[in-house]
Structure formats: structure tokens, C-alpha cells
């Protein structure tokens, strides 16, 4: 049933990159640098404004993929991959959606493990692609069995 989700995608959701959210996020990763949080430093930077840290897209709402209801237990985060066209700017609107890129199973020491590859993309208001985030989630056998009940 996870295999059937390959290619499914969510509807785009508008996210506004808020100054306070970026400050809290930068503090939470121990990186409250002026380029992220200080307005004057942002204005004086090569970007002419403040930018967001590269892992900030974890905070974005990218909607929901129909039929993809992952268990809350038995998931392991395997990999996370970002690609940027440019940094994200504080104050801008980013339109995000998700797509199931792949699903496959491999047997290992802990039984048959499932690998779900989900991508999240973000576009500017003009439809220009800003970033891609790829997340590989490993789902153990027990958790997958729970899903089919």
C-alpha cells in the first residue's frame, strides 16, 4: 500500500517566513547569527535582507498526501537532503508541496525494512523553484503491519 503512494502529491500550501519563527529556530540550533536575526546586518549583507537557516524548511506546512498515513511509532529518519537555488528570505511567501518519490523494501538485521522517499518543494510567489528537501524514512516491519490493519 505504500508502494501505491509513489507519485502522489499534496496540494500547495502558502507559508510565510516569519522573523520571530526564524529567530526561535536559529536559537534552537545554537546559531543565532546576525545574518538570520539582525535586521541591520541583513540589510548590509550580500542578500540585502535576512535569510533563513538551511534546515528551516522542516517548519513548512506542505499539505497532506491522500492515503499516506504513517504510523507514529517505528519510524527512523534515515537521510535528509537539501538543494537550494538561493537562500530563503525572511518575509517571503513560499508555496510548498510534497510528493512520494519512491518506496522500496530491503531485508536487514531487523527484518524487512521499508524505505519511503518523500520530497518537499518550495516555490516563490512567481512559481520559481527555491528549494527541494528529500527525506528518507525507514519503517520497520511491525509498524508496517500495523498500517494494514
Amino acid at each position: 500500500m505504500l508502494k501505491e503512494s509513489i507519485g502522489k502529491r499534496s496540494e500547495k500550501v502558502k507559508n510565510t517566513i516569519e522573523r520571530g519563527a526564524v529567530r526561535k529556530f536559529a536559537e534552537a540550533i545554537g546559531d543565532p547569527a546576525p545574518i538570520y536575526i539582525d535586521e541591520q546586518a541583513g540589510a548590509a549583507s550580500r542578500y540585502k535582507r535576512n535569510i533563513a537557516p538551511p534546515t528551516f524548511p522542516v517548519t513548512f506546512d506542505a499539505g497532506k498526501i491522500d492515503g499516506l498515513d504513517l504510523p507514529s511509532k517505528g519510524l527512523i529518519h534515515g537521510e535528509q537532503i537539501y538543494h537550494y537555488e538561493r537562500p530563503l528570505f525572511i518575509g517571503e511567501d513560499v508555496y510548498c508541496w510534497m510528493e512520494v518519490k519512491d518506496y522500496y523494501e530491503k531485508s536487514g538485521n531487523f527484518g524487512e525494512m521499508g524505505f519511503l522517499v518523500v520530497i518537499k518543494k518550495g516555490e516563490s510567489a512567481d512559481g520559481e523553484l527555491l528549494f527541494t528537501e528529500e527525506r528518507i524514512v525507514i519503517i520497520n516491519e511491525a509498524a508496517r503491519k500495523g498500517m494494514t490493519v
Binding site: P54, V58, T59
Partner: protein, 132 residues
């Protein structure tokens, strides 16, 4: 301070050692990121999931690791950042962040990046492309 372009293949950026991981670090990250999976903050939930205690969000460590590059953002930005999560991070662990130049191209500096714990074991490892 050095510029990123001053570093040559085989050179490392100054490593960063984090303070021992605290529960408050993870509570703050949960709030800031919106990831409230309780195995990161509540002992009983972590134990119920078969863990010896709460573990850091993988994305907390990945978020921290990127700060090795923050001092160089006037020269460019992180174009690609790919991480494999290799090991769990527990409370009191002391994590060190590292980045080494593996290749220099005209507009890209390619790094191997990693975060290791106090036993020098990789907790995450990957590649990062800094675009000039």
C-alpha cells in the same frame, strides 16, 4: 578570519564542539521545528519505544552542523546539504561538528561534513556544496 576560498582540498574548517546535550535543547527544538515526537522529550515515551532514554531529533544535529558555514555566508550559500543519520544522540552527549574540503571547483567548494560524539563515533555524516 579565513575566507572559504582560502581553504584547500584536505583542509578543515574550524570544528565546533557543542555543550553537552540537555533536555531543554530538545524541548526548544521541538517547539521551534514543530516536531513534537515525544521520544525526543519524554523519558517514558522513549523507553516505550525501546530506547534507553530520549534521543535528539536528527534534524537538531543537522541544523547545528550547518553553523560551521554561517561565518562564510557573505561569500556564498549552502547549495546542497545531504546527510545520513548514523547514530543516536543522547542527553549529555558532547557533539563535535566537522567539515573538510574534498574538492574545489570554479564556483563550488565541496565538503565532507560530520558530527561525532564523545566516543568519536559518527552520529551523522554527509556532503555539502557551498556555492560561491
Amino acid at each position: 578570519m579565513n575566507r572559504i576560498t582560502d581553504f584547500q582540498e584536505g583542509d578543515s574548517l574550524p570544528p565546533i564542539q557543542l555543550a553537552p546535550v540537555t533536555r531543554l535543547d530538545l524541548i526548544k527544538y521541538a517547539g521551534a521545528s514543530g516536531d513534537f515526537n515525544p521520544i525526543h522529550t519524554i523519558d517514558a515515551e522513549a523507553e516505550g519505544a525501546g530506547l534507553p532514554g530520549i534521543i535528539a531529533h536528527g534534524m537538531w544535529t543537522m541544523g547545528n552542523l550547518a553553523k560551521i558555514f554561517t561565518p562564510y555566508l557573505e561569500e556564498g550559500f549552502i547549495q546542497d546539504y545531504a546527510i545520513r543519520f548514523k547514530g543516536m544522540v543522547f542527553l549529555e552527549d558532547v557533539i563535535t561538528l566537522k567539515a573538510t574540503v574534498v574538492e574545489k571547483k570554479q564556483r563550488q567548494v565541496i565538503f565532507q561534513v560530520q558530527a561525532v560524539n564523545q566516543s568519536d563515533k559518527d552520529v551523522l555524516k554527509g556532503d555539502l556544496v557551498f556555492l560561491l
